[in-house]
């Protein structure tokens, strides 16, 4: 079974999307597929919010399913949510990916020129996230 990551987003407080990265291979990419992925991820936000209070750790594993796609979530201390849409089951890889992206996110937040809860536009961050995705998620 092809192990595929489809999309990764970071959602801040008030459900504002801060960062989005899609990993759909170019041949299969089309607008409706992208929109579907976004829709699935955003609709799982409610479930994430519920599960946050039931779970002690930041990593929430798989919170939702849609067809054969699974949504995994990681929530930081100030309720910033990292969501990953994928169709394979490697929990360790996903957990490591989330932890590493969390470190990158912390560095972005420490930047004096980044205002909290604003979109992350740094290309350095984007490249590093994609590098991590290749390492941990394929």
């Amino acid at each position: 079974m092809a192990a595929n990551t489809l999309m990764f987003i970071i959602v801040g407080k008030n459900d504002t999307p801060l960062y989005e990265a899609d990993f759909i291979p170019v041949q299969k990419k089309d607008a409706s597929q992208l929109q579907l992925c976004q829709f699935v991820l955003h609709s799982s936000l409610d479930i994430v919010d519920e599960m946050v209070w039931k779970n002690n750790s930041m990593f929430l594993k798989a919170v939702d399913r849609f067809g054969d796609m699974i949504v995994s979530a990681f929530v930081t201390a100030n309720h910033v949510r990292f969501l990953l849409l994928h169709d394979f089951r490697s929990e360790d890889g996903i957990k490591n990916f989330f932890t590493e992206v969390y470190e990158l996110y912390l560095k972005v937040v420490l930047n004096p020129f980044y205002s909290y809860n604003s979109p992350i536009t740094s290309t350095v961050f984007d490249n590093r996230v994609r590098g991590l995705a290749k390492r941990f998620l394929s």
């Binding site: 560095k107 972005v108 420490l110 930047n111 004096p112 020129f113 980044y114 536009t121 740094s122 350095v124």
Partner: protein, 187 residues
């Protein structure tokens, strides 16, 4: 001479009280971003940072001379080494180096390199601030401190890690040696 200066720098650094580096970095970042919000003009912010540094330098030199054992510097290259090895070590905890081939013929201009710069940790410049000299405060400190020891210098940043270079480089030029004017008085 450089080895002595380095030892002196380390000795003085050990005796200093220290604060958390992250707190320092974040505080400086907050100052710069607030200045940008207040002045809205990047060149003006550069000027203000330099002015702030100048005022700090005027006072810092006394602390420096009191705590460290360096005597009078006999010539400008010695001043350069002292700043790089003792001054930076004492106040920022990092050692700078003077580029030997950066000296000009009259020995009045040199480049100082900082490989590590605690001010810029975690910082990434957005594209619309690309003319910001983030470390300009250091330029002001050097200018203020040297003015109190009778040297008028100009200091500017020629390389910055925030713009893609791998070190921070300052170019310091000695403009003139100041002599105290004897005040006119009844004699």
């Amino acid at each position: 001479m450089a080895a002595n200066k380095q030892k002196e720098g380390e000795r003085v650094f050990k005796e200093q009280e220290k604060i958390n580096a992250e707190l320092f970095t974040l505080t400086y970042g907050a100052i710069v971003s607030q200045l940008i919000k207040d002045y809205e003009d990047i060149e003006e912010v550069n000027t203000q940072l330099e002015k702030m540094g100048y005022n700090i330098g005027l006072r810092l030199i006394d602390e420096f001379l009191a705590r460290s054992n360096v005597g009078r510097c006999h010539e400008f290259p010695e001043t350069a080494e002292t700043i790089a090895k003792v001054g930076f070590k004492m106040f920022l905890g990092v050692v700078g180096s003077v580029l030997p081939n950066s000296w000009n013929a009259e020995r009045t201009e040199f480049s100082l390199i900082l490989e590590e710069n605690p001010l810029v940790d975690f910082c990434e410049l957005p594209d619309n601030y690309s003319s910001l000299n983030y470390c300009n405060i250091i330029c002001g400190v050097i200018r203020g401190a040297l003015e109190m020891v009778q040297m008028r210098v100009e200091c500017r940043i020629t390389k910055s890690v925030l713009r893609g270079d791998d070190v921070t480089e300052f170019k310091i030029t000695l403009k003139e040696r100041l002599t105290d004017d004897i005040p006119m008085g009844d004699d």
